[in-house]
């Protein structure tokens, strides 16, 4: 169902919608704001598109959307991964219609133009019709490649704007979170090959994203899990644990369990407290690759719980991304993180993902419900503001970012919105 959007009183002055510790409800409901986000954040900025492990072989491809635009991420016959516009350069037919596949070329079903999996136009039927211009047509009308594309740790990011900051500048402190995930793999490689769960949410895409780093809601939104199934991995009562929230800058943020896990010095707390004897091959491979001490530290620290602006959430042993549809509708995509050569862990990871995530997950189904009700609540136009001041007096800045030792502080949200406002106002992020 579609939730009616509140009209925006100041559609073109987005900076007025964001204050240091509150934001105007229109940021979630306004179609004008949504259009501006698609342009400034999703087309001009860096967005996560795919992981290289999704297209391991030459000819493999997956289809995605960036800011509503259809794209194909293909590994060419030269082994290079390219982010290409999924639009025939003749008259615009969508070229690749499967979610994924393997093909040496893409043939447009409309008039039969054929493109190589590197994007080159290789075949034009009834070529005589182009006379002398045939070569020029073939030269000029290859598939359009995303103007900028870079990877970090196999995560492929793209920007549809030709100029801007580098991916490394954009990621900033968030590269450490990707490193932390890779540290859990003996080869420092991960695989997102088990498929993506797709969950249709009746709420704004930012609600889906920022909720992931909301350390305040778990005790309430997810009470049914803790009451019925098992207590949380560590307490969700902030005063009982050394769990931090951190604004990493550039809109990135995280809930960091590492201090608490390190204090307990216990491996696999983040993995249902799995005894290491239950994953002997994996632990042995970790120790062989990193040495016993580093392997122990990685298995204690666990994976990141980190939001990378705007559309990538490293959800511990899952990766989540979003496709915004309009101001009130979002598709959330979730894939488990698999570790090459660790089948004893991987099947378990699948089961853990199904348990927690997606449309029937013990956690995410309720986050989706709360997101939908939030969108409904925001249709009331008074009060105008959403309050994000929790913990603003106790934030401290250090070399890792802006930290709050109360995990229920809204520090991540403040960081997200500050960056969001800057990007929408036109400062390239």
């Amino acid at each position: 169902m579609t939730v009616t959007a509140a009209p925006v009183s100041r559609p073109h002055d987005v900076t007025a919608l964001v204050e240091p510790d509150r934001v105007h409800g229109a940021v979630y409901t306004s179609p004008e704001v949504f259009e501006l986000e698609m342009k400034r954040i999703f087309r001009e900025g860096w967005v996560f598109v795919a992981h290289e492990s999704e297209v391991p072989e030459k000819g493999d491809y997956v289809t995605r959307r960036i800011g509503g635009e259809p794209m194909v991420v293909a590994r060419g016959k030269d082994g290079v991964v390219r982010v290409l516009a999924n639009r025939c350069t003749h008259r615009g037919n969508r070229l690749c219609n499967a979610e994924k596949g393997n093909s040496s070329s893409f043939r447009c079903p409309y008039h039969g133009w054929t493109f190589g999996n590197d994007g080159k136009l290789v075949g034009v039927p009834m070529r005589d019709g182009y006379g002398d211009r045939l070569n020029a047509v073939r030269e000029e009308l290859g598939l359009v490649q995303a103007p900028r594309q870079e990877s970090y740790g196999g995560f492929v990011f793209a920007s549809l704007a030709p100029t801007g900051i580098s991916l490394l500048e954009h990621l900033g402190n968030a590269t450490k979170a990707i490193d932390r995930l890779l540290d859990l793999s003996p080869t420092r490689e991960i695989q997102l090959s088990a498929g993506w769960m797709k969950h249709h949410n009746n709420c704004n895409w930012k609600m889906v994203m920022e909720n992931n780093v909301d350390g305040y809601h778990a005790l309430f939104t997810h009470a049914s899990v803790y009451d019925a199934v098992r207590p949380a991995k560590v307490s969700h009562v902030p005063s009982k644990v050394e769990v931090l929230v951190r604004d990493l800058g550039n809109g990135h943020s995280e809930i960091d369990y590492e201090p608490e896990y390190t204090r307990l010095d216990e491996e696999f707390i983040w993995y249902g407290r799995l005894p290491r004897e239950k994953a002997p091959e994996y632990v042995a491979a970790m120790e062989a690759a990193h040495g016993p001490a580093k392997a122990h530290q990685a298995l204690v620290s666990g994976p990141p719980h980190t939001l990378i602006f705007p559309n990538l959430f490293l959800a511990e042993m899952n990766v989540m991304t979003v496709e915004p549809l309009n101001a009130g509708e979002t598709i959330a995509f979730t894939a488990p993180v698999l570790i090459p050569g660790a089948p004893e862990i991987n099947t378990k990871t699948l089961r853990r993902t199904e348990g927690a995530m997606g449309p029937a997950g013990f956690l995410i189904a309720d986050d989706g419900e709360i997101g939908q009700r939030n969108q409904m609540g925001l249709a009331a136009q008074d009060p105008e503001w959403v309050v994000l001041s929790r913990g603003s007096d106790t934030d401290v800045d250090d070399e890792t970012g802006r930290v709050n030792h109360d995990k229920s502080a809204e520090t991540p949200q403040r960081g997200w919105w500050k960056h969001w406002a800057g990007v929408l106002a036109g400062s390239r992020g």
Binding site: K198, N202, S224, V229, R351, A365, Q372
Partner: protein, 171 residues
């Protein structure tokens, strides 16, 4: 599942075996009604000790290497029901109002005490608006001294390949 053109496929184009034991059909309909009416614990009591409740993302998926929407062993079925029974499973508080119809029952396998029945279903879920779910069920039912028990239920949703709305009720 048989590939088109194989011997099994030739067999499968024979008229369906619709001689479903009434006790088996009765369990399938009871399971549907208890799910529709959010009678969670009674629904759970229909399951055998090694029950498996599976909603794959694609028909041919291998759950060992691909992700499913739901892949509940008996223990997780118990947890799912316990969560629904708390009354604070927000996505089912209040429970969706539902009715489903099941048709086209075909016996696709049977041995001494176990029958596998495939069927089509249409499920009408009303929450904030009406959502229609549809697909194919495969129920594996064991006849025991204590009555029929559900050993496995697989749900192939027609829209499994697309983005699903929240599905925290019993599908």
């Amino acid at each position: 599942m048989a590939e088109p053109g194989t011997v099994q496929e030739v067999v499968r184009v024979q008229p369906a075996d619709v001689a479903v034991d009434p006790a088996v059909a009765g369990l399938i309909y009871l399971e549907a009604r208890l799910a529709d009416e959010a009678r969670y614990s009674e629904w759970e009591s229909l399951w055998a000790d090694d029950g498996l409740y599976w909603v794959p993302m694609h028909p041919g998926d291998d759950p060992e290497v691909t992700l499913s929407y739901i892949y509940d062993n008996r223990r997780r079925i118990k947890s799912r029901v316990a969560q629904l029974n708390t009354g604070t499973r927000h996505s089912q508080t209040p429970p969706s109002v539902m009715r489903r119809t099941i048709s086209n029952l075909e016996v696709v396998a049977r041995d001494e005490d176990t029958t596998t029945v495939a069927s089509n279903f249409a499920l009408y879920e009303y929450r904030y608006a009406m959502t229609v779910w549809a697909g194919r069920y495969v129920h594996r039912v064991q006849l025991t001294d204590a009555g029929p028990l559900l050993v496995a239920k697989t749900v192939h949703l027609v829209n499994a390949g697309g983005a699903l709305p929240t599905m925290s009720f019993l599908i």
